[in-house]
Every structure is written in structure tokens, then in C-alpha cells.
């Protein structure tokens, strides 16, 4: 019993001591809480306003990778001129758009079905389309909406009857160079559109697969989901970006920039719904191929002369991508290509 009393007294004494330290703690907690509270009161609305204004894409300064890019921030190009007015750019006629259920598109009987045919027999690999696209669409440095991969197939054989004679022997060069223009395939069954969690990207009824940069959260799922690596994260807008088939041009009755500029007329653009169009005739009279048909994406960019010689296998014996914009310098292929010693 006496022990219990002592215990109680000790407890009381401890509680008195605790009261002191608690008061101190409470004071400090109130101070910290006040600071946090004020920060929240000020920071909340600021953050909300900033978030609401995020379509203005003022983040240029934060990203050092692309500082020299005129465009959406150019004061000369304001909304009244149609610049940055994405409703007008992406879908001026308010065509039906699709985030999934792409098979429904045929049912609405769209007026046009835009496709591109690329005749590889005529491509000389001049990269004019790459330049025209970058110029037309203001693509940041290091990113491309279309590009031409140049691959070397075959090998140099040492034979007695070769036409290349050197001091070391006679060789015959059995080498072909293949130029393959690549761009977004504007698939009829696009996996990149289906995976978007916020329905920022869509397929328009007449064909183009587009991204609304006002909605995109930049999660990168579509970039990973595209089997053709046709998408990228735009370092200026911090949203997913891709080939639009120059939608603002085709809506005005013009051809896409890459098609206009093609010197060999290897790129042909047109309406598949019109049986008299050049693309319809080409598709009717030529065997055509698409890239990665096994993906089941139903690409709408058709190739004439893509006969399966080109693959992405990393086998220098079979082929070599001797010129490409896609290869990261920080990759094993680049190190093989340049030779590790050259890189140092």
C-alpha cells in the first residue's frame, strides 16, 4: 500500500514536470503550425493559380535542355491569330474524336480518311522531310516527328573476281543502302491512345492521332506504349508530343510539310475514301507493307518496297543502321558504331 502511494506521488511529480515541458512543446508546435498554416494559405491559391495557368507553358526557364525555342511564347503569335488556340488547331470542324472503341469510326462514315504512302524506291535519304517538319512544327532540338533511317545491308566479300582491287586482295561489295522514312503511323488501332489515363490523346474521325497539350499530365505511358517510338515528351510544353499529319495544314487543304518538300515524291498523302486519289491508286496497284504488322495496330502509313530486309535486330552482320536519329549516344550500338576508343 505504501509502495503504491509513493508510486502515485512519483507519478504526480512527473506529471507536474511534464506539464512544463508540454507547455513548451505546445508553444513550439503552435509556432511551427502557424508557419505551416500561413505557408498553406499563401501557397495554396498561388499553386492553384499556377496550375490553372499551366496551359500557358511558362516553364521554359526551368528546363535548360532547350532554351532557344520560339513558338508558343512568341508574343507575335497570339491566340487571336489562331496560335495556341488548340481547339482550332486540333479539331476546327469539331469532328468526332475517339479515345477507345476505334472500330466505331467507320460507322460515322467520316468524309475523309487521310493516309500516307511512302514509296521507298524513290527515297534518296536527303532528310528534307526531317528539316521541313522541324521547321513547320517548331520541334525542339534533339526531337523529331519524322526522320529517315539509313541502313546498310550486306557485306564486303573477299573474292578473286571482285571489282574492288587493293594491295591486300580483291573484294566485291555486296552492299545495299536502304532509306526508310519513319513517322507516326496514325494507326487505326493506336495503343498509345488507349493507355492515356486522362484522355488527352485521341484519334480524330478522319485519321490523325493527336495530343491535346492542355490536358496531358506528361506521365509518359503513351511514349512507352508506341511500338514505333513516334512519341516524345516535349521539353518545352512538358507534355507528350507527336506527328499531327500537319493537321492545321490539311484542314486548310494543304499537304503536310514533309510531303510538300519531298524531292523524289517518295511521300504521297491523300484521302483513301476518294477512289480517284493518288494514294488509292497506289494502294490498288502496288503491294504495300506496314511497319511491325505483328503489333496489330493497323498502321495508316503504307510503304512500297519495305520487303522485310530491315529489322531492329542488333546484328551488324545482317544490317547496320549507319545513319539514324533514334540511337542514343549512351547505348551499346553507338559505342560499336563509333568505336569505343573514338568516344574517349
Amino acid at each position: 500500500m505504501a509502495e503504491d502511494d509513493v508510486h502515485v506521488e512519483q507519478n504526480n511529480a512527473r506529471q507536474m514536470g511534464n506539464q512544463e515541458s508540454r507547455r513548451e512543446f505546445l508553444k513550439q508546435a503552435l509556432k511551427v503550425g502557424g508557419v505551416v498554416g500561413i505557408a498553406t494559405v499563401i501557397g495554396g491559391p498561388v499553386g492553384a493559380v499556377k496550375a490553372l495557368a499551366s496551359t500557358e507553358t511558362k516553364q521554359n526557364a526551368t528546363d535548360g535542355s532547350a532554351t532557344n525555342w520560339e513558338g508558343w511564347e512568341d508574343p507575335q503569335l497570339n491566340v487571336n491569330d489562331g496560335w495556341n488556340n488548340w481547339d482550332k488547331i486540333l479539331n476546327p470542324d469539331n469532328l468526332p474524336i475517339y479515345h477507345d472503341h476505334f472500330d466505331e469510326i467507320k460507322k460515322v462514315k467520316p468524309k475523309h480518311h487521310w493516309v500516307m504512302v511512302i514509296d521507298l524506291r524513290k527515297c534518296v535519304g536527303c532528310q528534307s522531310c526531317t528539316v521541313a517538319c522541324k521547321s513547320e512544327n517548331n520541334i525542339p532540338i534533339g526531337y523529331y516527328r519524322t526522320w529517315v533511317d539509313v541502313a546498310e545491308i550486306g557485306s564486303t566479300l573477299q573474292t578473286s573476281l571482285g571489282n574492288t582491287v587493293t594491295a591486300n586482295g580483291t573484294y566485291e561489295q555486296q552492299i545495299k543502302i536502304r532509306n526508310i522514312p519513319k513517322l507516326c503511323n496514325h494507326c487505326d488501332n493506336p495503343p498509345c491512345v488507349t493507355v492515356c489515363p486522362v484522355k488527352a490523346t485521341f484519334k480524330r474521325a478522319d485519321g490523325p492521332v493527336l495530343v491535346d497539350p492542355r490536358l496531358c499530365i506528361g506521365c509518359g505511358t503513351c511514349v512507352n506504349a508506341c511500338p514505333y517510338d513516334a512519341r516524345y515528351i516535349n521539353p518545352i510544353s512538358h507534355t507528350a508530343d507527336k506527328c499531327t499529319l500537319c493537321v492545321e495544314r490539311i484542314d486548310e487543304g494543304l499537304l503536310p510539310a514533309c510531303v510538300t518538300t519531298c524531292v523524289g515524291r517518295a511521300r504521297i498523302f491523300g484521302d483513301l475514301n476518294d477512289p480517284t486519289s493518288e494514294v488509292s491508286k497506289l494502294l490498288a496497284s502496288n503491294p504495300v507493307q506496314v511497319r511491325k504488322p505483328e503489333m496489330g495496330t493497323d498502321p495508316q502509313v503504307f510503304y512500297i518496297g519495305l520487303n522485310g530486309e530491315i529489322s531492329t535486330e542488333n546484328d551488324p552482320e545482317a544490317e547496320n543502321l549507319i545513319y539514324t536519329y533514334t540511337m542514343n549516344t549512351n547505348s551499346t550500338a553507338y559505342q560499336q558504331l563509333a568505336g569505343k576508343s573514338l568516344l574517349k
Binding site: V8, N11, Q19, R22, L26, G47, K50, A51, S54, H99, D100, G142, Y143, Y144, R145, W147, D149, K182, P191, V195, C196, P197, V198, K199, A200, L215, C216, I217, G218, C219, G220, T221, N224, A225, C226, P227, Y228, D229, A230, R231, Y232, I233, H238, T239, M295, T312, E313, N314, N320, L321, T324, T326, M327, N328, T329, N330, S331, T332, A333, Q336
Partner: protein, 401 residues
């Protein structure tokens, strides 16, 4: 097109890791309620707090990796369900947060109310505030609360599977990446989630009960039991890994893209060590350690084995997320990647993320009466001080309940 590169970086590695810990710890916490394993009762409240601390930060990984995180609300206003895996994940996460908070309220309301009556000052008011002013302590009310607790725990286990299965599906649904496009993704992620959750709970239980509980004592029988469950989950995880290797490594059994990708990245490539030593080796180490009874019953060594399992799971996430992206889609060779130390998608972000979780977990430990013994003791002493023997008896009854 940008250069072939790793688009999803370290925060996306942390994302399934953290989510796995949530799913696993929740299931461990439900062992006593759903599966009737009464010996795991001391874990129930603790694991709820672990689950809450981690679940609050589960979406921080992908948000830190996305370029426009301030537009997060589009995930709700323009949710693309059920087509987009990430869209459905948002809904599952939101439901899960609500369920976990409801569980915590139901599990802690009674002790919080009792403590609020005997605790003076701001702490008592905080307790009262946390009960949302609900003071009912009748037998029927408590029984009804327990019933709802069990129902919610059952629903929570379903959600845990959906939650982590869907993270597997975020990768499994992407056919452009041959190493991701794998039907095994979902079961592999679920199994490793449960494994990592058990391992985490073993470590958390050992540390928290050894240093912060009332008796400062770890029940080695409980650790032994958890380790025994872990052995079985480890075996399933290893089995799935073997099936995965058989599915993707031999050229004869799989398509060219998968086989060459697996060979170039995991057989003789940049992630060979991370796969064979980090992911599989540590799993085998954990399994071997767990087979010894002496290790199973020693909290320290059980924690070491669990830590090996946790590191192995981290490597599994790394190999899946980063490894899948090292294979180029249109170019040649293998993309090389080494995580940045500072800045976007760096180790700094992941470190900060885990520190945030630790901070919130410590805060929760301080506020919520997770230790039944300590609560009993405090109530006992305060009732002795105020001579309310009757209340004391009812207190004990409630805590036993």
C-alpha cells in the same frame, strides 16, 4: 521521337515497390481478422499505420516522374476507365485510401475515446477530435464495429490484389516493350507485393516492439510464424521467376524480340548482376536463411533475412521498369542508363520519398495507441488514480475484445 531512352525513371521503380509494401502489410494486418490467426493480433493495429503511411505516398512516385503533376486532377475529371491501366489504378488507389482510413477509425475509435477521457490537455482533445466526437462504448456498438472491421478488411484484401495486380498490368499492357508484355506480370507483382509486405512487417515489428513498445519485447513465436508464411511466398515467387525465365530466355520458346532483349539485358548486358545476383540471388539467400529455425526465431536474424528479401524485390522492380526500357524500339543496341544522383527522376527523389514515409509513420506511431499493452497500462493507472474500478474492468473487456 526523341532519342531512345529510359522514359520512366527511378520514381517509377519506387512506385510498385511502395505499392507492394502497402498490399503486403495490409494482408499481414488482416491475418488475425480474416484468416482467424489470433496470434498475429499485436500486428493488426501496427500494420494499419504502416499501410496508411505508405499508401499516402504511393502516387507520389508517378507524379514525381510525370512532367505536369499539377494537372493530377485530370485523373479524376477525365478518368479513362477501364481502358487505361493508370486510370483504373487511380480509382483503386482512392478507394483503398478511404478503406484504410475507415479501418483505422474503426480500429482505434474505442481506445482513442477511452484515452481522451483520461488524458489531460491538448493531447486529450486531439484524441477526442480523432474519434470525431463519437463516444458510444456499448457492447453492441463495439461488436458492430468489429463486424465492419472484418468486412472492410476482406474488401481491403480484394483491393490489395487489384491494386498491385493493376500495377503489374500497367507494364504488362504495353505491347511495345517485349520484356513487359508478359501475362506473368500480374501474378509476379502480386506475389512479390505480399512477400515484401511480410518482410517489411517483420522488420517494423521487430524494431518497433523492441524499442518503442511498453514491454520492449519481441514475440519470437510471432516472428517465426511470419517467417514461415514468408517461406511459402518466397517459394511461389521463385517459381514465378523460373517460369518467367523459361518464358523469355530460350529463343526456342519465345519470340525473337523477347529472347534477344532478355539476352542483351539480363544474360550478358547491363543488368546481368542486378538480375542474377540482386533479384534471384538475394531471394535464394533469404529463403536459405528462413529455413533455419534459429534464424526464424531471432528477431535480428529474421530482420536480416527479410531485408535481403526487400532488396531483392527492389531489384525486381528495377529490372522490370528500367530493364524493359533498355531495349530500343526502332534503333539498335541496348540503351545504357545510370540513375542520376540529384534532380528529376533521381536517387534524391526516391530518398526523399522514403524519408517522407518514415516521417509520417513516426508521426502516426506517436499519435495512435497502437500498443494494446501500453494503452491498458495507461488506462489502468489513470483509473487507479481516480478510483474508478468499474471503468477499469470495462476497459480490459474492451481491449480483450
Amino acid at each position: 521521337m526523341g532519342l531512345e531512352q529510359v522514359y520512366w525513371t527511378l520514381p517509377i521503380v519506387a512506385y510498385p515497390f511502395i505499392s507492394g509494401l502497402i498490399a503486403g502489410s495490409f494482408i499481414v494486418g488482416s491475418l488475425s481478422k480474416i484468416f482467424g490467426q489470433k496470434q498475429y493480433e499485436p500486428l493488426a493495429k501496427l500494420s494499419l499505420l504502416v499501410t496508411l503511411a505508405f499508401i499516402l505516398f504511393a502516387p507520389v512516385g508517378p507524379l514525381a516522374d510525370s512532367r505536369q503533376p499539377s494537372r493530377w486532377w485530370e485523373l479524376y475529371t477525365r478518368a479513362h476507365i477501364p481502358e487505361a491501366p493508370m486510370g483504373l489504378f487511380t480509382i483503386i488507389w482512392t478507394t483503398y485510401v478511404i478503406v484504410v482510413i475507415a479501418e483505422i477509425y474503426l480500429a482505434f475509435r474505442a481506445p482513442l475515446h477511452q484515452l481522451s477521457e483520461v488524458t489531460p490537455g491538448w493531447k486529450g482533445r486531439l484524441y477526442h477530435w480523432l474519434t470525431l466526437g463519437s463516444t458510444g462504448m456499448s457492447e453492441m456498438r463495439l461488436r458492430r464495429e468489429h463486424k465492419w472491421l472484418v468486412i472492410l478488411a476482406g474488401f481491403g484484401i480484394f483491393l490489395a490484389f487489384a491494386f498491385h495486380g493493376y500495377i503489374g498490368f500497367i507494364f504488362g499492357a504495353i505491347k511495345a516493350r517485349p520484356l513487359w508484355h508478359n501475362a506473368l506480370m500480374m501474378p509476379m507483382f502480386i506475389t512479390s507485393a505480399i512477400l515484401s509486405g511480410i518482410a517489411l512487417m517483420i522488420i517494423v515489428y521487430s524494431i518497433v516492439f523492441r524499442y518503442f513498445s511498453f514491454h520492449r519485447k519481441v514475440d519470437s513465436a510471432l516472428v517465426d510464424g511470419l517467417m514461415k508464411i514468408m517461406i511459402w511466398v518466397l517459394l511461389v515467387d521463385l517459381f514465378l521467376d523460373v517460369v518467367d525465365i523459361l518464358n523469355s530466355a530460350p529463343v526456342a520458346y519465345t519470340d525473337q524480340a523477347t529472347a534477344s532483349g532478355f539476352a542483351e539485358i539480363f544474360l550478358h548486358g547491363p543488368l546481368t548482376g542486378a538480375y542474377w545476383i540482386g533479384q534471384l540471388g538475394l531471394l535464394v539467400v533469404a529463403l536459405t536463411l528462413a529455413l533455419f529455425r534459429g534464424i526464424r526465431t531471432s528477431p535480428l536474424w529474421a530482420s536480416v533475412a527479410s531485408f535481403a528479401a526487400l532488396i531483392s524485390i527492389w531489384f525486381m522492380r528495377y529490372n522490370t521498369v528500367i530493364g524493359g526500357q533498355l531495349q530500343p524500339k526502332v534503333s539498335q543496341g541496348v540503351v545504357l542508363y545510370s540513375p542520376a544522383l540529384f534532380g528529376r527522376g533521381s536517387m534524391q527523389i526516391v530518398f526523399g520519398l522514403f524519408m517522407f514515409i518514415l516521417f509520417v509513420f513516426s508521426l502516426l506511431l506517436m499519435v495512435f495507441p497502437w500498443d494494446d499493452e501500453a494503452t491498458k497500462h495507461r488506462l489502468f493507472h489513470s483509473t487507479q488514480l481516480t478510483n474508478h474500478g468499474e471503468q477499469n474492468r470495462s476497459t480490459n473487456k474492451i481491449l480483450e475484445h
